[in-house]
């Protein structure tokens, strides 16, 4: 059976919400940006006018100001965005129980089962767009297709507030002439690889022999070839179906560059504390720890290593992170941002191989759980590691509550 899948993308989401709350900003180029003082001064989102002036997401605010002198920069308010995101989902939920979020402002909706109630995909898309406009005051672009990949592609084709339909009959005319990097998961490096092999459009990719693609790109070659041909059978997850967590991580761009092991240790502990607390909250333990390091030239890499056993202790995670760091970083440049991640997860109630030589971890586990409870009741800063007080400006952030937006993967 041919499915009816919608992909709804809320246009210039952060900027639209800010403009809705501040009517005086309408008609001006607006960007939502991070905190310049805290060195997170990059553009997170922009409205149409700022976009026309050439402002790009991810560039520094000062760069954007040079291109667009009248640019109004507003700080982000994630609580507000999450609320709008939730309300938008509530609207989608009137048309299907299969809704899968892809980041905060995008969702797939499988409306196959409700077309006899609400009309075909295009009609449902129209209704959703009207309701977004009338009930929330924001606009969305909707792509309608029979698979998730083309639905997403469609929502990017006409903006703002428009519906694009891609059918098995017209996709060769509509999708194939597009540049290959428009396809989900064709990023900068894949694009370069494909371009080197004279693949410039999605059509080029679709027509290329799968075996040749597999030779150059591995398994990816086959996946991308399927995407380009509309052969993506992946289902839209059911609403409320929690995605299975594969790893838990936190990262931060620090207010000043980190210059020695001591600095890194402080940050590693703050991050490990948060990762450990989140693991405990989800009832998980990790067996692998990974550190992500980005230097002040924005070169970044990740290294990972196994723990001796499974753990949800900040102590173990931070120690492993520091061990990895010392092994792999030579301090040729100061560090701009650091991340710690626990992967290879196991549920807490399972059986574990105990460590013969390590002291019993139960006491430490009790201690950290108690800290969790204290923080829950009295706030994150009510109890801290002594070391944190060495440099409160550096450690004065709470990765667990400061950041609520986690990037998601298409393959889960």
């Amino acid at each position: 059976m041919v499915r009816t899948i919608l992909h709804c993308d809320l246009n210039n989401f952060y900027a639209s919400v800010e403009c809705l709350y501040r009517p005086e900003l309408r008609g001006k180029p607006v960007a939502v940006g991070g905190d310049v003082e805290e060195r997170r001064g990059i553009i997170l989102a922009k409205n149409m006018l700022a976009k026309q002036a050439g402002v790009k997401t991810g560039e520094a605010i000062w760069q954007a100001r040079q291109k667009c002198p009248g640019l109004v920069c507003v700080p982000p308010d994630y609580r507000k965005y999450l609320r709008f995101s939730r309300l938008a989902r509530n609207i989608y939920a009137d048309y299907s129980d299969r809704i899968e979020s892809f980041g905060i402002d995008e969702s797939w909706i499988d409306a196959t089962g409700s077309t006899h109630l609400f009309g075909d995909g295009v009609q449902i898309a129209g209704t959703i767009r009207r309701r977004l406009r009338e009930e929330l005051g924001i606009s969305g672009s909707v792509g309608v297709s029979w698979n998730k990949i083309f639905a997403k592609l469609g929502s990017d084709m006409k903006k703002p507030d428009a519906t694009t339909i891609i059918t098995p009959e017209n996709f060769r005319e509509v999708v194939w002439p597009l540049p290959v990097e428009e396809l989900l998961y064709v990023g900068r490096s894949t694009k370069a690889k494909l371009n080197n092999r004279a693949i410039f459009t999605i059509g080029d990719l679709a027509r290329r022999d799968v075996h040749l693609l597999k030779l150059s790109l591995g398994v990816w070659g086959e996946t991308l070839s399927n995407f380009a041909n509309g052969l993506d059978p992946s289902p839209v997850a059911r609403a409320g179906e929690e995605s299975f967590i594969k790893s838990v991580g936190n990262s931060t761009t620090t207010p000043r560059d980190l210059v020695n092991d001591e600095d890194v240790k402080l940050i590693a502990f703050v991050l490990a504390d948060s990762v450990a607390a989140r693991l405990r909250r989800h009832g998980l333990k990790c067996r692998t720890v990974a550190v992500h390091i980005r230097n002040n030239e924005l070169y970044s890499f990740e290294r990972q290593g196994k723990l001796t056993g499974a753990s949800f202790l900040a102590r173990d995670i931070a120690r492993k992170a520091m061990e990895l760091f010392r092994q792999h970083y030579t301090w040729d440049r100061p560090i701009r941002s650091l991340g710690v991640r626990g992967a290879d997860l196991a549920t807490m109630d399972g059986s574990f191989q105990l460590d013969l030589f390590e002291r019993d971890a139960v006491e430490q586990e009790q201690l950290e759980r108690t800290v969790d409870r204290l923080r829950e009741r009295f706030g994150s800063y009510s109890i801290q590691r002594c070391a944190m007080l060495q440099d409160t400006k550096l450690t004065g952030f709470d990765p667990k509550t400061d950041h609520v937006i986690h990037p998601v993967s298409f393959f889960r």
């Binding site: 709350y21 009517p23 005086e24 005051g137 924001i138």
Partner: protein, 80 residues
């Protein structure tokens, strides 16, 4: 147009419905809400913001009264 936050006297019935009865303006004047003709979620395009929009008849005039996360406001204009 500015949005003005106001004090509202409302009736909450057991089913969870809210019915605003009196609008208490910033200068202390009270206005009885004669009728609520429509309730829906909507953006406040003039004043900025979004919330439950109560279309109220007050002294023959139609007024949009918004409730946004527990705070009530009216769009624009100083009292009638």
């Amino acid at each position: 147009m500015e949005k003005t936050f106001v004090t509202v006297t409302a009736e909450h019935d057991p089913s969870g419905k809210t019915k605003p009865l009196w609008l208490n303006w910033t200068d202390g004047k009270q206005y009885e809400i004669d009728r609520v003709t429509d309730v829906r979620q909507a953006p406040a395009l003039k004043g900025g913001g979004m919330g439950m929009r109560y279309t109220c008849k007050i002294r023959g005039k139609e007024v949009y009264l918004f409730e946004d996360e527990g705070r009530w406001f009216v769009e624009g204009k100083n009292s009638s």
